[in-house]
Symmetry: C2
Subunit: 447 residues, 2 copies
């Protein structure tokens, strides 16, 4: 029994040579081999893979992270890549071929068997993040007149080619889905039973052009293990299995979180400080430009600041509050847009709810800050200005945090961008403008 | 064929009465019924469910979001809850019973059949977020001497009780795992074949006390559909299916994102502005207290600010940069801690890498800001102070962003907390201290 701990790691010694490294790895699960090889460079990984059999190499390649995989592919020639591709299911084969330069793609494709080549070429036509882009073409499907025995015979024939068979699909003469059976139905059905008698006619399917995030939502909603994919003309063309959906959910979460933090998820596999810096700098430059915007606003009010220097003390309070409220609001709005429970509602309705929350928070924090500043400085005029503008900034930030995700979605941009540094920066500038504007207007010492 | 669009929603009219609402829902998938009922209050949902058969009601209850589910349970009596629980698999039954007040729990449990009650009581002993807490006790397992025919017979008997059978487990006399078979192996094996001849002896299993996030990583790594769970004494006690793992991955991502934004994921289902405000206020108050810390620091340097008011203009640049760099760094560190590719490494090693990136960014942004401020204000002394302290703040924020997640993990706290408002606030204070400290030390007009 293999005992699994996520901290179990095989450490390879690159000095020991590829044959001895391969010996240490042989017999392990391809996923574990991939993790061990992830520490090595592309050339070394390639020579270790060459020591293993082609089927294992192919499985390992698919389990490598994208960065290492592309390094290994760079080190391999078209013949070796074609051999590996031959061992893969069509979706993985298309992923590998899709990573190659166009010229190499042609060379590898020309070396595949006709059927494999057609399947890969077909899959490459779909966009990466659609149902078509993540499906495999290998399918077990039969005409509705077939029996359980026929189905088992077909599974036996497909066993070499298809790794995970969860369901058998039943189609009409036009390859349109009419039913689905689980393997359990087959195990329990008699050999001569007609599939149409025991199949489930309520087949949940998705279209090739559905976004992968929506496909993931369908899996989550109906607790699926596999889903059939149909072309726009209604014909059954592929299936997606749950392991790929787990990757989709994971990647989308990483992507959203990276957007919030102002970085990119592929940074994780980047070793060069220069390249990491290049990924992060654009977001920091946006922040810096925004900061200069704030500086411009403050300079505009420099006379007020000179007269009452205490006003400057509370600029960080104002910007921090605008940032926090804006992020809380936009995160909830974006999350509810992604939720399957239809909570997003119309922008106006959501704004109403966010305003009610913001008014409560504005009263508590505005009054609290006014009291603290008043007792601390003994200057109740400044305290009133700080308290009132803090309340105003909370309302403004909640408004922007609600409306910007809707605006982004309306423009076809991922609303998660609203959780990133851009909106926080905007909130800083507006917050300072509100604060110093109020101070200049209402503080009698200044006017 | 059911065509699935994630935007398909059934809108119920609560005025039409529970019988007519139930008519509109009958025949739909429980997940779709749950979404339609999610719009109604607990009492109305309860009366609609009463019109449906108990099995459907039970499935719908499990598909309701946690908030609606608890509302419905509040409206139901112990007899009805026991009837529903009877229809559920043990993991869902334990979830439902676990949501009840202690007294009601006892009443419901006493109404269950002995076997069901023991299973639920057993599962309730495990902590919520462990493998034991999410597993189901329903299992199909046989002694190693059994044949394919025996296994099919057992599946037939279990078919009523276990919904999704993906694997059949083989154990020794002590209920210890010795092998696993997929349903495909059974379909393709001859009736008299010994299970031990065709089973896979490399069974990946998890222990009851493994954290659910680690279980999810095991699923992701090995592309699993189900995993057996063993007690600390090595005995097979349950299994976890992939649909529950999808929920775990989804919830953990929502939780991390909520931590970053300073809110809580259950806010989504909260209608009352008061309760939402109570969820968000603590984070905002931390931000406000931090802001007062910044104000204290600025007051300490108020003489310097009075002499060179331009220094105040760049406080937002400094705080924004500290916040952004800190968030970029902590996000990458936390993500790599969660990654299965073993990239987290030791704190010292990671700090080295982050410092290299920070030094590059510090040079680019520090020099750039110095140039912009210099040409803008024509005051190259202030420009130099702004540029140098911006660079210093980038290095400090990168250091904190790296070390704080390690420190939190060391203290047994979720490192994702480092991505939240607390660290950003800390960066604000330290950034201003560095900036005004440098200004007071090096600007000759001040000293």
């Amino acid at each position: 029994m293999a005992d699994v701990h996520s901290d179990d790691r095989i450490v390879l010694d690159p000095e020991s040579g590829s044959a001895s490294m391969a010996d240490a790895l042989r017999g392990l699960h391809p996923a574990d081999i991939a993790i061990a090889l992830g520490q090595l460079d592309g050339e070394t990984t390639k020579s270790v893979l060459a020591e293993l059999d082609t089927e294992t190499s192919a499985d390992v390649l698919i389990h490598l992270d994208e960065h290492s995989r592309s390094e290994v592919l760079d080190a391999l020639g078209p013949v070796e890549i074609a051999d590996i591709t031959h061992e893969l299911e069509s979706d993985d084969a298309a992923d590998v071929v899709g990573m190659l330069a166009e010229e190499l793609q042609g060379e590898v494709l020309s070396r595949l068997e006709d059927e494999d080549r057609r399947a890969v070429e077909e899959l490459l036509k779909y966009t990466d993040e659609s149902a078509g882009g993540i499906m495999a073409s290998e399918l077990v499907f039969l005409k509705s007149g077939s029996t359980v025995k026929d189905a088992i015979e077909l599974i036996r024939k497909a066993a070499d080619e298809v790794d995970d068979i969860h369901n058998v699909y039943v189609t009409d003469g036009d390859r349109r889905l009419v039913g689905v059976l689980s393997l359990r139905d087959l195990v329990l059905g008699g050999a001569e039973t007609q599939l149409s008698q025991i199949m489930d006619q309520d087949v949940v399917s998705v279209s090739t052009d559905m976004d992968q995030e929506d496909v993931a939502r369908v899996f989550r909603k109906y607790d699926l293990v596999a889903i059939p994919v149909v072309a726009p003309d209604g014909k059954l063309v592929g299936r997606i299995t749950v392991d790929d959906i787990i990757d989709v959910i994971h990647e989308e979460a990483e992507e959203d979180m990276s957007l919030m933090a102002g970085t990119r998820e592929d940074e994780l596999h980047e070793d060069s400080a220069f390249r990491v810096s290049r990924i992060r700098l654009p977001w920091l430059i946006i922040g810096a430009i925004g900061g200069l915007g704030s500086a411009l606003v403050m300079r505009h009010f420099s006379l007020s600041l000179e007269k009452v220097i205490a006003l400057a003390f509370f600029v960080p309070v104002i910007t921090a509050m605008g940032g926090n409220v804006g992020l809380q609001t936009s995160t909830i709005i974006v999350r509810s847009m992604h939720s399957e429970f239809g909570l997003s509602g119309a922008a106006r309705e959501r704004l109403g709810k966010e305003w009610r929350v913001a008014i409560l928070n504005a009263i508590v924090l505005g009054a609290g800050m006014c009291a603290v500043v008043g007792f601390w400085l003994g200057d109740w005029h400044v305290a009133a200005v700080v308290g009132c503008s803090l309340a105003a900034v909370i309302l403004v930030a909640a408004t922007l945090g609600t409306l910007i995700p809707f605006a982004l979605r309306g423009m076809g941009i991922d609303p998660a961008v609203a959780q990133g540094p851009f909106v926080t920066t905007l909130n800083d500038i507006i917050g300072i403008l509100v604060y110093l504007g109020m101070a200049s207007t209402f503080l009698t010492r200044i006017t």
